[in-house]
Amino acid sequence: MIILGIETSCDETAASVVKVECGKFFILSNIVSSQVKVHAKYGGVVPEVAARLHIKVVLPIIQQALAEARCSWKKIDCIAVCAGPGLMSSLHVGVETAKTLAYVFKKPLIKVNHLEGHIFSGQNKVKEWKLPIIGLVVSGGHTQIYLIRNYLKYKIIGGTIDDAAGEAFDKVAKILGLGYPGGPVIGKYIAKAKGHPSSGLRVTKEQRNITLPRPMIRSNDLQMSFSGLKTAVLYAWRDCQLKLKGDELENARVNLAADFQQAVVDVLVTKTLKAVKKYNAKTVVLGGGVSANLELRRQLAEAIDSGFPPSLKLWRTRLSGMTINKVKLVVPELKMTGDNATMIAKAAYYHIKRKDFISPFALTADVNWELKSR
C-alpha cells in the first residue's frame, strides 16, 4: 500500500510518500519546506504570512515528493492529510489541497490528527510497540501525555495547565535576548558557551544548585505548568542585569538558560515516569518539536533505564521506589521531530485498516481537534 501524506498545520509545508509492505513502513520520500526563517523576524508564526507561503509551495512540494518516490498518481492508494489541531489559515491549505486531489484522482481520503502523527513519528513497523503506550507530545503549541491502551485508542492523562513547553522555550529565549525559535537557540547557546558543540551537555556542579522552580513536580497528578517558570526566569534575569556586568552577566545568562532547560526536562521526565508507573506502560513514545532537545532525549533515556531523573536528587527518594522494568523508549530521528508528512502517512495506515475514509465534500479542518478515540 502506498500513502501520500500532506501536512500544513503550522509553518511547515510537508508531503511524503510512504509504502507499507510486509508490516513495515518504507519512507519513499519526505519533503519539508520550513518557513521558520521568514517567521523568525516576527518572533513567531504569523498566520497570514504562513498561509500565503503554504499556498505557494504546497503543489510543488507534493510533486517533488512523488518524483523522489518515483511514484505516479496511479500508484497512490490513499491520500492522508493533517486536519488539525493547528492554525486555521495554514490547515485549510493542506486540507483543501488534499480534498481536491482526492476528488480529481478518485483516491480515498483520510484525516489525521496532528498529535497522533507526532506519536507515530518514531514507528518503523506496523504495531511495533508493546501496549500500553505512554505518549509524550511536546511542541510549541502542545505539551500532553497520552495513554494508549490499544492502537487508535487515546486517552489524555496529563499535560500543561498553561504554557506549552516549546512556548516557554520561545518566551525565555526572548527574555534572555537569544532569538527565535527558542528551543534550538537555547540549546545551541548553552552548548556553545560550554564548549561542547552539540554533544550532550553535562550540567556543572554549580548549576545543580537548583535556583529556578520545578513547578508542580511534586503534585500527584500528571499536570504540568511552565508559565511560572518563565516568570521566574524573567525576575532572575532582571536581578542579574541590575547586579552584574560584562563576563559575569554573560555567565549568569548561560547558567540561567541551562537551569531553565534543566527545569523543563526535570518536569517532563518526572511526569512521564509517574505515568509509566501508574499505568504500567511497556513503551514510552516521545514526539513533537521539543523532542529534538538533546538533554530531554538523553535524560529521559537515562531515567527510564535507572528509574529516576538523575538531576533530581531532591526527589530521588520519592521516585526511587519506582521499579521500571522492560520499558522501551522510542525517540524519533532528529529530522522527524519537527512537523513532517511521513508521520501523517504512518498514522493514516491504521485508519485505512479501520476504513475511516472521509468524503472530500465532508472534510473540514478542525483548529481545536482534540486527540481522542474516534
Partner: protein, 157 residues
C-alpha cells in the same frame, strides 16, 4: 481603579470578580509584560463565567474558543455556587503577543466574535485595539497589569 494581588490565587479571585461585572458583548484588553499574569487572570474570568475547560496559553494558536455550558454551576469542587449568566455562552481568549494587527485578527476569525452579545473576548497584548473598539461602538474594558515584584501585581482598570 487599582487592585493589588499578592499571588496567582488572588489574581484568579480578582478575575472571578471581574467576570461578575461582565454582561456579554464586552472585549477585555489586557496589557502587561511577559509573566504579568494575563493568562492567570483569564483563568479567573473563565472560572467566574463557568468555563469548565482548563485555560491554556493561546500564544501558539493565537485564539482559543471556549463554550460555556448551561449546566455548569460549580467549579473547582468548591461548594460555592456561581450564578452563570445565561446570556454569556462563549469565551474567546486571544493572544496578540506577536504583534498581530487588525488584519491578522480578521484573518484568524477573531473579529467576528467582537461585540457578539453572548460572547466575552479577552485579548492579551490587546492595547492597540482600543481605537478600533471605540470606533465600532464595542464595549471594551482596558486592564493594565504592572509587575510590582515577583509575587505582587497591580491591576489598573
Amino acid at each position: 481603579m487599582k487592585v493589588i494581588t499578592n499571588s496567582p490565587k488572588e489574581t484568579i479571585s480578582f478575575g472571578k470578580k471581574i467576570a461578575k461585572s461582565l454582561k456579554g458583548g464586552e472585549v477585555v484588553l489586557l496589557m502587561g509584560d511577559l509573566g504579568a499574569g494575563k493568562t492567570t487572570f483569564v483563568k479567573g474570568v473563565a472560572a467566574g463565567l463557568g468555563v469548565k475547560n482548563t485555560i491554556t496559553s493561546p500564544t501558539f494558536v493565537l485564539m482559543k474558543v471556549y463554550k460555556i455550558s448551561a449546566s455548569a454551576k460549580s467549579y473547582g469542587g468548591q461548594s460555592e455556587n456561581i450564578k452563570i449568566k445565561k446570556n454569556i455562552k462563549v469565551l474567546v481568549h486571544i493572544d496578540a503577543y506577536r504583534g498581530l494587527d487588525l488584519n491578522d485578527l480578521e484573518n484568524i476569525g477573531a473579529l467576528e466574535y467582537f461585540g457578539e452579545h453572548d460572547t466575552i473576548c479577552l485579548v492579551e497584548w490587546g492595547g492597540a485595539l482600543l481605537d478600533y473598539c471605540r470606533k465600532k461602538g464595542i464595549r471594551c474594558k482596558k486592564i493594565l497589569i504592572n509587575n510590582i515584584n515577583q509575587k505582587t501585581r497591580e491591576f489598573i482598570y
